[in-house]
């Protein structure tokens, strides 16, 4: 199925959670989702016959100024179709439901987004930093991140 067909199917099932279809001027299309209903939509995408997205490629955190977004790249081995989902959360309270119980691959991917952008995935089994030290302060991939002057007495000069 093409992303547009998948979108109309999703829109039918979740009219309030799924944003309008936007044809991209360049590159890949992306479907906007309401963060509250992300988990239900993902469960549907994983289990619904005809969609069956069994492979979660990637979760990306993006800093878009006043909002942070979490982008999901999905793929179905059976139907060989792909989909990109995006959920935007407020910068002040970046909370999203975790999808680690749907795709175990999300475990580490969500931890990385938490580590780099401070997006909190609620319901994640073990949400802690993954690449940076556990006592690191701040979220480096946010656009307003300032490098610390020193870390444990190691000067940044």
């Amino acid at each position: 199925m093409t992303p547009a067909e998948i979108h109309s199917r999703l829109k039918e099932k979740f009219p309030s959670a799924v944003g309008e279809w936007q044809e991209p001027k360049a590159g890949d299309p992306c479907i906007l989702l309401e963060p509250q209903e992300l988990h239900e939509v993902c469960l549907f995408l994983k289990s619904e016959p005809g969609l069956e997205f069994d492979y979660l490629k990637l979760i990306t955190g993006v800093d878009r100024g006043d909002k942070l977004s979490s982008v999901y790249h999905l793929y179905s081995y059976k139907h060989q179709h792909a989909l990109v989902l995006r959920a935007d959360v407020e910068r002040a309270e970046p909370k999203l439901p975790s999808v680690a119980d749907i795709w175990p691959a999300a475990d580490w991917l969500e931890r990385e987004c938490f580590d780099m952008l401070g997006i909190v995935y609620q319901g994640h089994p073990d949400l802690r930093r993954i690449l940076l030290p556990l006592d690191w302060e701040g979220y480096p991939l946010r656009k307003d991140y300032k490098q610390p002057q020193s870390y444990h007495g190691i000067k940044n000069e």
Partner: protein, 379 residues
């Protein structure tokens, strides 16, 4: 109280937490595994990563699209050609550049040579992990031939900066082509030796067959790709499923695990898939050399590359699995965000699920068979 042989009841029997790495020869870089052991059995193992974190994604937001290319070489440093290829394809897709056919062929030749070189490192190091020293010397002997070819082609031995946005850096000359032909011949001659030396070795089979079994379902659920996925019996290869860079023109097989020496999806299956893939890569290189079209080696690319507003994801079949670049552009000369889908990262995430109740020595076999490169896990 002293515990002695006469007093076995005073032996300590609680579970122990043991660190394997980050300075351990069989962790292939700076991976630290925290292992909970019960005697010789492993109950859990938590990988701790990030020791090689070099802020690739942060740097990529502050340099131009062209300047990112050499940084990609340093992600999976055993497959630099493949990394740069994936990145260039992503930029080209969003920008709409038409890459000349000759450049695509040269990229394929370089990428497949690099794939063989990467699998040769795996072959050598995996033997070393399992206590066989000689395969390492064999693997590195042939790898040296590839490195010298790639050096003549690009100027670098490990970090090539050869694929560029729009094409490749240099054209091939008849001498290099002849050298590649010689290499193909030599590789086909020595490949059976590898099997006599390691693949069919009774000790090696005992160490790897039926060890670290990954089922098809688990492999898909954890997002495993590449030989780890195909070793579990899923015939999925991006070069075939979603061909890029003219791969659809080439004839090659996709080797999958069959449980020949033990169970489907065990360490030996993953090992064997990589060995068979080397032969398939040779086929592709041979076809690409024979059909190399004439023409330009690079497209017309403006001096300052500005991508249109939008986003793009391109995945390529790297030696370790699906390497993807997700680029979001807001129309400036720098990207808003560049995210790397690193195959080793997802492949390693399955560790804790498959090391339950195996022997400590088998952890080495399992980690080795996943074939990780910390450079792309930590980025």
């Amino acid at each position: 109280m002293n515990s002695t042989l006469e007093q076995p009841e005073s032996l300590r029997t609680e579970e122990l937490l043991v660190n394997m790495g980050p300075q351990h020869p069989s962790t292939h870089g700076v991976l630290r595994l925290l292992i909970q052991t019960d005697g010789e059995l492993v109950r859990q193992a938590w990988p701790h990563i990030g020791f090689l974190h070099r802020c690739f994604e942060k740097i990529a937001e502050s340099v131009t699209y062209r300047q990112v290319v050499p940084y990609t070489d340093r992600l999976d440093y055993l497959a630099s050609m493949n990394n740069a290829l994936a990145y260039c394809l992503a930029v080209e897709k969003l920008a709409g550049f038409e890459v000349p056919e000759r450049a695509s062929y040269l990229r394929i030749i370089a990428a497949e040579l690099n794939r063989i070189a990467s699998h040769l490192v795996f072959f050598g190091c995996y033997g070393l992990d399992m206590g066989a020293f000689t395969p390492f010397l064999y693997g590195f002997r042939e790898r040296e031939l590839i490195l010298s070819i790639l050096e003549k082609l690009s100027g670098g031995r490990l970090l090539y900066h050869y694929p560029r946005i729009g094409g490749v850096a240099r054209d091939i000359d008849p001498q290099i082509a002849a050298e590649i032909q010689n290499f193909i011949k030599e590789m086909r001659r020595v490949w059976p030796e590898y099997n006599r030396l390691l693949s069919e070795n009774a000790i090696f089979i005992k160490r790897t067959a039926n060890v670290g079994v990954i089922t098809k379902e688990a492999a898909v659920a954890y997002g495993l790709t590449g030989p780890c996925l195909r070793g579990s019996g899923v015939a999925y290869d991006l070069r075939r499923a979603h061909p890029y860079s003219l791969y659809e023109r080439f004839d090659f097989e996709i080797p999958i695990g069959q449980g020949l020496k033990g169970t489907l999806g065990d360490c030996w299956d993953r090992y064997w898939v990589r060995l068979l893939e080397m032969l398939e890569s040779l086929k592709i290189i041979e076809q690409a050399l024979a059909g190399l079209p004439e023409g330009q080696i690079t497209a017309k690319v403006p001096p300052v590359i500005k991508l249109p507003e939008g986003e793009v994801y391109v995945g390529c079949e790297n030696p370790r699995g699906e390497l993807g670049f997700y680029i979001i552009s807001d129309g400036k000369p720098q990207a808003l965000r560049i995210k790397v889908r690193a195959p080793s990262f997802s492949n390693l995430s399955i560790t804790n699920a498959i090391v339950r109740d195996v022997l400590v020595a088998d952890v080495v076999a399992i980690i080795g068979s996943i074939d990780i490169v910390l450079g792309e896990i930590d980025r």
